[in-house]
């Protein structure tokens, strides 16, 4: 938290940020309580938007803002019954009245029509009740159909204002989703909250393990359409597609290097799965591993110089880290006999993965540092799969079969504020969490 203070600007250390930091510090030692209820978090109010006439987009925007604020893990959203006044203007609040209601922040807004057909003008402001001033006051103009994006962008501004980090809300998730044909899987992309889903690959066949390049143009994925699971790379702008692998062995796309030049993948040759790097410039495939065991699920470090992957060369699946230039992989997980699905944080040397506790054999989402220290079980419910990092490295999304069907959850990188995300089609398996790729 101290780091956030300094970055937030020396003079404005009081009030809201202080409140929030203290609350966080408290919740760190009250983990179980907070997991049961967010009541200890400070309250933020998102009253209805002021509007020129009734517009359903206004209500939608309010719901998006409330949802995003809840998922920040920094706030609970105050019930309307706690509001001490009815808003008259975006920039005028009776701060003392809100303060005595126990509310630390208020988002106010006004929705109006902008010139042009189906355009809207949206003003949104963040009020710091203790400081008795607006911390953010922004205008958004654009097509009405993009009102959710505008709300997400404001939520990101709030997150940045309070933490110094980019927000996780105007983002998208790449998923493998149950297709219409029996046994088929589609690859889809949608907003982080499940809205605006559109298919990227939906040919009625089995499509798996998608990985989108950093600039959002190249989609690598595995398809069974040739009769065997091979990797294809599709240019989403031109539709051009290239098959990278052939043969009967399993091939799975893993992760793109941060510069977008290399695709890390796994491919089984002669019955043995190994890690390869595909260079999109030279079109050459370079083999990185060479051992008898299963080697799968490569994930690039943000420095582009290392990657982590899963290998069962020790007799059980464990996470290893190796240099992309070669050299012996270093095993980093030693607790339990099942540690798979590593995802390297885009922010630092932290990895998320799915592990199984020795004591009760339950699977969970864990984090660990790339040097093997600092392992921590964040949670994850029954049968978690495929943890993915928000682009800001502050949140982890994963799926779990809690409640019977596979659903998505997101939580802070410390395991707090674990929330079920809105339903997003059948059986969505998260593969990647990316900045919004198209506006």
């Amino acid at each position: 938290m101290q780091k956030h203070f300094l970055r937030g600007g020396g003079i404005l250390l009081i009030s809201l940020v202080t409140w929030w930091a203290c609350a966080l510090a408290q919740t760190r030692v009250q983990i179980d309580i907070e997991k049961q209820s967010g009541a200890e978090l400070p309250a933020i109010a998102v009253p209805g938007l002021l509007s020129e006439g009734v517009d359903p987009a206004g209500q939608q925007i309010r719901l998006v803002l409330q949802q995003d604020m809840k998922y920040t893990g920094l706030f609970r959203v105050a019930d309307a019954s706690a509001y001490p006044e009815t808003l008259q203007a975006v920039d005028q609040l009776q701060y003392p009245a809100w303060a005595s209601s126990g509310i630390v922040a208020v988002i106010t807004g006004r929705l109006g029509n902008a010139p042009g057909e189906n355009q809207l003008s949206l003003q949104l402001a963040l009020h710091d009740i203790a400081q008795q001033r607006m911390r953010i006051n922004n205008n958004f103009n654009g097509p009405k159909i993009r009102h959710r994006e505008m709300a997400h962008r404001f939520s990101d501004l709030v997150y940045r204002e309070l933490t110094g980090d980019a927000g996780p809300f105007d983002t998208q998730v790449l998923c493998v989703s149950v297709g219409k044909s029996k046994g088929s899987k589609d690859i889809i992309i949608m907003d982080y909250d499940g809205h605006g889903a559109r298919p990227l690959v939906g040919d009625g066949g089995l499509n798996l393990s998608p990985a989108l390049s950093p600039n959002g143009t190249l989609l690598a994925y595995t398809s069974y359409r040739s009769g065997n699971p091979n990797i294809y790379v599709r240019n989403l702008l031109t539709g051009a597609e290239e098959r990278l692998t052939s043969g009967v062995g399993l091939a799975m796309a893993g992760s793109w290097s941060p510069d977008g030049r290399y695709l890390a993948l796994s491919h089984t040759i002669d019955g043995n799965s190994e890690i390869f790097l595909y260079d999109t410039r030279s079109k050459q495939m370079k083999r990185l591993t060479n051992d008898w065991g299963i080697d799968v699920s490569p994930t690039f470090a943000p420095d582009g110089k290392r990657l982590a992957f899963v290998s069962d060369r020790s007799g059980s699946p464990q996470v290893y880290v190796m240099d992309v230039q070669g050299g012996a992989p270093v095993r980093i997980t030693y607790e339990g006999r099942y540690n798979t699905a590593p995802a390297w944080s885009p922010r630092d040397n932290t990895l998320a993965f799915v592990g199984r506790a020795d004591e009760d054999r339950s699977l969970g989402v864990y984090t660990i540092r790339a040097d093997g220290n600092g392992q921590s079980r964040l949670g994850g419910g029954p049968n978690p799969d495929a943890p993915v990092w928000a682009p800001n490295g502050r949140f982890v999304m994963y799926t779990s079969t809690q409640g019977g069907s596979r659903q998505r959850y997101m939580m802070r990188d410390d395991g707090q504020a674990n929330h079920l995300l809105p339903a997003s089609g059948p059986g969505c398996l998260t593969s990647q969490w990316v900045a919004r790729t198209a506006r």
Binding site: V176, S181, K182, G183, S184, K185, D203, G204, G205, L206, L208, S209, S223, Y224, R225, S226, G227, N228, P229, E242, R243, L244, T245, S246, G247, V248, G249, L250, M252, S266, H267, T268, I269, G271, S273, F276, K283, Q284, M285, R287, I294, V296, S297, V310, S316, P317, R337, Y338, T340, A341, V354, L363, N383, D385, A386, T401, G404, L429
Partner: protein, 178 residues
Amino acid sequence: MTRRPVQSSVALVALILTFLFVGCAKEEPPPPTADSAARSTPTPGGAGPGAGGPGAGGPLGGQAAADFQNQDIYFDFDKYDLRADARATLDRKVAFMNQNASVRAQVEGHCDERGTNAYNLALGERRANAAKQYMTTAGVTAARLTTISYGEERPIDPGHTEAAWAKNRRAHFVITGQ
């Protein structure tokens, strides 16, 4: 590694038939019971339609071919080594392939829903390869057996119980040519 796309490989003769499943697992965890009816694995996307496949009235339409395709072998959780019951089943499959020297088959490796998707695909491949390895060591020509992994994508029992998982950790055989 071949990078250039290879033109369409082996044409698969697809086969979707429903048979009575005959349980054969004898070890822990709880094996499927003998009376559990099970459906053969759906044809993978990309494979052609199954018109006139073996078992559909041809010379291999008999009980032996049905058994070959419907007696799966089972694996322990997170394992791909062959249990004694699996080896006994594979011995019968070897005998069948020896008696029907023109038969070619695909071994499908499957997993239960637990664990992570990517690793389960790799695990399913190892299961299929373990079965193939056993049969080729016993004399079946390697070229007559192909393998494919479906990981946890094609559960035979959609349930979330130990009994369902035990049925899903399997290698399944499909006759692809004769």
